[in-house]
């Protein structure tokens, strides 16, 4: 194998694939990136693959010139470090022979010892994900979404997933597809984010399908998504989900392929926790609320995290305050555009509010409340619903 690559494009692809390779594993082959160079009718392609046995990625590298087809299996870390360090080069040449791979620059030559390419576990393509294979059943649902909407669904939910691994939290996002409707829901037990969008076509498969996609896989997916209009094909199987990015209608020749095992277990009955009897409704200018919460949060610390929100219905004002012992206190007052209902006082973790406001595109949001012990609700149009549990301030 001999391929001349644009260094920047190669680095980007290697960085992306390195993200999925295993960092600690008894199988050193899993710490490697597989390189496949092919040439058909004078058009050369270099595809990088990586896997940690749970998440797998295949990615075509832009701007390559395949001089000789072939394959190699190279430790991802070393490959990435070399390409990164050769920052004065515009192109680099990859040359593989047997178990070793050389990276050639103008003034440097690296020979990295790897493994036979055949040692790398096979990564199934999109077709086998749809049709099923010896190991897996055919997909339960296959559909297409555009990269822009998919990316927004992810962005609007993934921030609400649990950051830590625990028995209590779910480290994944629920994907719920029913006909042409697709929903994503994430929660860490303290707040819940729900985003909706509509598909152009219902796709194949019988009835609604629900699965929990690992947070990590969605983070990788988001980085792979490029142009908003680029189609992304999804195949939801029994225990795997596969995304083909930039593929044709039948999933052939995608620019990138990502597949991941699904999170097992039941997602909490999220419809039940979305409150339906809120009796106070406040319309906010998104940026004003964001700035007020952010400023009021300046005097919080680990032990006093909450920000107090005091809604004055008569004066149409909101007072935000925080107080941290031995640190000080902050007070911010803003005018409200519209307030329906009685005054109320409630505490929130300010981060839970600002994180939601960041993923809202509309300039106006609506907050609905009931009392200081009951969940708060933030809405932005019909496509985004956010439930946040209060903090009991002392």
């Amino acid at each position: 194998m001999r391929v001349v690559c644009d260094r920047a494009a190669l680095l980007e692809a290697v960085n992306l694939v390195s993200g999925v390779v295993a960092s600690r594993t008894p199988r050193p082959q899993l710490t490697c990136v597989r390189l496949d160079a092919t040439s058909e009718d004078g058009v050369g392609t270099l595809v990088l693959s990586g896997t940690d046995a749970e998440t797998s990625m295949r990615l075509a590298v832009d701007r390559v010139d395949v001089e000789r087809a072939g394959e190699a299996l190279v430790p991802a870390d070393k490959l990435r470090q070399i390409i990164q360090a050769e920052d004065h080069e515009s192109t680099l040449t990859l040359e593989a022979d047997g178990d070793s791979c050389q990276v050639l620059g103008t003034d440097a030559r690296f020979r990295v010892l790897g493994y036979p390419a055949s040692d790398f576990p096979a990564i199934g393509d999109f077709k086998s994900a749809v049709k099923g294979s010896a190991e897996s059943a055919p997909a339960r649902a296959v559909f297409t979404h555009n990269a822009g909407d998919l990316s927004e669904l992810i962005a609007r939910t993934i921030f609400a997933t649990a950051r830590e691994n625990s028995r209590y939290a779910i480290n994944g996002v629920l994907l719920h597809k029913d006909g042409k409707k697709v929903e994503m829901v994430a929660t860490d037990g303290k707040r819940l984010a729900l985003a909706r969008s509509a598909l152009a076509a219902p796709g194949a498969g019988d009835g609604p399908v629900k699965c929990i996609v690992p947070t990590k896989a969605l983070q990788h997916l988001q980085k792979l998504l490029g142009d908003d209009e680029e189609p992304v094909r999804l195949a939801v199987g029994e225990n795997r989900i596969t995304f083909a990015i930039g593929a044709s209608e039948d999933g052939e020749d995608p620019r990138a392929l990502l597949s991941s095992t699904l999170v097992e277990g039941a997602f909490p009955p999220y419809q039940d926790v979305i409150p339906k009897d809120q009796d106070k409704s406040i319309t906010f200018d998104r940026d004003l609320l964001f700035s007020a919460v952010k400023r009021a949060a300046l005097l919080t610390n680990e032990e006093s995290r909450g920000v107090r929100l005091e809604f004055d219905s008569a004066g149409k004002k909101l007072r935000l305050s925080s107080r941290a012992p031995e640190m000080g206190e902050a007070n911010v007052e803003i005018e409200l555009k519209e307030y329906k209902g009685d005054g109320v006082e409630i505490g929130f973790n300010p981060g839970f509010i600002t994180e939601a406001l960041k993923v809202i595109n509309q300039p106006e949001i609506v907050m609905e409340l009931k009392d200081s012990m009951k969940p708060g609700l933030i809405r932005s149009g019909p496509d985004f619903t956010y439930v946040v549990m209060p903090v009991n301030l002392q």
């Binding site: 960092s23 990435r80 625990s166 037990g189 505490g347």
Partner: protein, 645 residues
């Protein structure tokens, strides 16, 4: 089939009338009465030593010699240079309730002497062969002997000064008691404890002790309390003792306290190394022991006892010493005041002291790793063995053995670190792995790593310990223990101001537990509320957590794990939900879970903040379990290690 029921009358008369004859009440013969009294006062040789020494001290002696043979079982001889006994009073000295120290009941209320009941010598004589030789100024030197109920006549004798009392073959006439004595070595140890106690309490008096002809103690006269205490405890222990005293704060009430208390490193597994003296009398007082334990709370592990010598002086009418036959217990008129005086004084002294254990302290004055010392000077002396007694059985967890190799390895790594560039991603764990796809988070280049190194004045080793330097040498901090201590103090301060802030949950976190534990939930509720935990029974065997402290959430503590552990602990019998102990136990649990763990990689800023906590947090030298948070290698230790001296 009826069994005939016997009539009441027949039962009553079933016992033949003759057996109902009872022995007549008689006055006990004086010897038996004295022997019974002796049973309370004279338990073993040590009690004889105590009584006789107290007599000598009451007689105004400035120089006392104690001789023991066979641990005092065969011979106890106490010679003093005190006032002496005139010949005509010698027979009275051996009689019960004869004393020169007390004239009427009124004086009992303000006893200024050690002995007062006038029964000691009579009791001792009832169970041993006693000879008193004495000379009082202006009288002929004379002697008297007694054994059991026999008394000799008063005879002239050759005595230069004061009094010499010999007690031989203790319990010669009560073989049952003699059989209960321990080995001579054990009895000798107990006798010497008594001698040392009295020596501690009377630093002005010269004391010499001979055991089977060998000198085991030689204390010169006119020592101050500190010099005397160090002479007895061992001067090597000096660095591990903190002086406490409180005259001024309480002199209005006429109470003064002075003492030396041991650092946590010399805490022991029983309370015997606590020497408490009230008006010069060694006492065991549960409330003072409790005050000491409280003062050390959190500094030493539960189940270990601080070492302490405490001298409490208060006016004679402030304390009742006549509550225990051996006078080992006293009753204070204002117990609460004494308790808080001890607690506050010791706690304050500990707060001010630097309790960071050093290598030398942790392993004894001359640890084996330094090789043989300068040669024995007085290794055979009893003072040395008494000092050893303070040092013995250090807990396994805090060393006793200092892992020298581990420290040397750590230092090796400090020294070699600058030359080694670790491949990125290798050592960092998954969570902190730089995100490879974003250029900003790309692994640090070797150049930037090298730049960062020389400016550091601390280092994290094995992601568990922080090595730093201070004025005295090298300090090695257990990152988890120190952070846990800091969290504990912060939580404790925070919770006294009000309940912890809590985050409500969308749906309760469900804890599967037993029905017994669910029933205990109700009594836990007030405690849980203070902690910011809202929990309720969901079913007979499940508990739902509806709100949980924001602090614990932000530290990644799982509510289910936490709650099930809390319920486990609350199930223990000793757990009283509304007690301070329970609160501390749970806060301790919180602190432990919220603190950084061994294995957590810390940034430079985090290490800096952690080291700052050493100075700012009270009791920062020990974690809430009482284990040390840091150890110090002093420059002197290093010099010894490198054989510079």
């Amino acid at each position: 089939m009826h069994t005939p029921i016997p009539s009441l009358a027949s039962i009553h008369w079933a016992v033949p009338p003759s057996t109902l004859q009872r022995p007549a009440i008689r006055v006990l013969p004086p010897l038996v009465a004295d022997q019974i009294a002796a049973g309370e006062v004279v338990e073993r040789p040590a009690s004889v030593v105590k009584e006789l020494l107290e007599n000598a001290l009451d007689a105004g002696a400035t120089r006392i010699e104690v001789e023991l043979a066979q641990g005092g079982i065969e011979l106890i001889r106490i010679t003093d240079d005190g006032a002496g006994i005139p010949p005509d009073e010698l027979p009275l000295a051996l009689a019960a309730h004869a004393t020169s120290k007390l004239r009427d009941a009124e004086e009992l209320a303000r006893i200024g002497t050690l002995g007062f009941r006038g029964e000691a010598l009579a009791s001792i004589t009832s169970v041993a062969r006693v000879r008193i030789r004495s000379v009082a100024p202006g009288h002929e030197p004379s002697e008297i002997e007694g054994a059991g109920d026999q008394r000799s006549a008063v005879r002239p004798a050759a005595v230069a000064r004061g009094t010499s009392i010999e007690v031989r073959t203790l319990f010669f006439n009560t073989p049952a008691r003699r059989r209960f004595l321990r080995t001579p070595a054990t009895e000798q140890t107990r006798c010497m404890e008594v001698v040392r106690d009295l020596a501690l309490a009377h630093p002005a008096v010269a004391l010499r002790a001979l055991c089977d002809g060998r000198e085991t103690l030689d204390l010169r006269a006119e020592q101050g309390p500190r010099a005397r205490a160090l002479a007895i405890l061992g001067r090597e222990l000096e660095d591990n003792l903190v002086e406490v005293h409180a005259d001024e704060q309480h002199d209005a009430r006429g109470v003064s306290l002075w003492g030396l208390v041991g650092t946590p490193a010399v805490a022991r597994s029983n309370a015997r190394a606590q020497r408490v003296f009230v008006n010069g009398r060694a006492v065991r007082d549960p409330s003072i022991q409790h005050a000491l334990r409280e003062a050390y709370r959190g500094l030493i592990e539960p189940g270990r006892y601080p070492t302490a010598v405490l001298m409490i002086d208060l006016p004679p009418d402030g304390v009742d010493v006549n509550v225990h036959p051996a006078k080992a217990e006293v009753r204070f008129r204002d117990q609460g005041m004494v308790h808080s005086l001890v607690l506050n004084t010791v706690r304050e002294a500990l707060r001010r002291a630097d309790l960071t254990p050093t290598l030398a302290h942790r392993t004894g004055a001359r640890p084996a790793i330094f090789g043989p010392g300068d040669g024995p000077t007085d290794t055979a002396s009893d003072a040395q063995s008494f000092a050893d007694y303070f040092r013995r059985d250090l807990p396994a967890s805090t060393g006793g053995r200092f892992d020298y190799q581990a420290v040397r390895d750590a230092l090796d790594r400090v020294l070699t670190m600058g030359s080694k560039v670790e491949p990125a991603g290798d050592a960092s764990d998954e969570r902190e792995r730089p995100d490879p796809a974003s250029p900003e988070a790309a692994p640090a280049t070797p150049a930037s790593q090298l730049e960062a190194l020389p400016r550091r004045d601390h280092l994290q080793v094995h992601q568990s310990y922080v090595v730093a330097q201070d004025d005295d040498g090298v300090v090695i901090v257990d990152q988890h223990a120190l952070h846990e201590r800091a969290m504990f103090e912060a939580l404790h301060a925070r919770i006294t101001a009000g309940p912890l802030e809590s985050q409500s949950l969308l749906t309760p976190a469900v804890v599967d537990t037993s029905s017994e534990r669910v029933t205990r939930l109700e009594e836990l509720t007030p405690l849980l509320e203070r902690l910011g935990i809202d929990a309720a029974a969901l079913s007979p065997s499940t508990v739902g957590v509806r709100a949980f402290p924001t602090l614990l959430f932000s530290r990644g503590v799982d509510p289910i794990d936490f709650m099930s552990e809390l319920l486990d602990r609350a199930d223990a019998d000793a757990f009283v939900p509304d007690s301070e102990e329970a609160l501390r136990e749970v806060l301790d649990m919180m602190a432990c879970k919220a603190a950084v763990k061994a294995g957590d990689r810390l940034t430079d800023a985090e290490i800096g903040a952690l080291l700052e906590l050493r100075g700012s947090v009270e009791r920062s030298t020990s974690c809430p379990h009482g284990r040390p948070t840091s150890v110090r290698l002093t420059l002197a230790d290093l010099e010894r290690l490198f054989e510079r001296r």
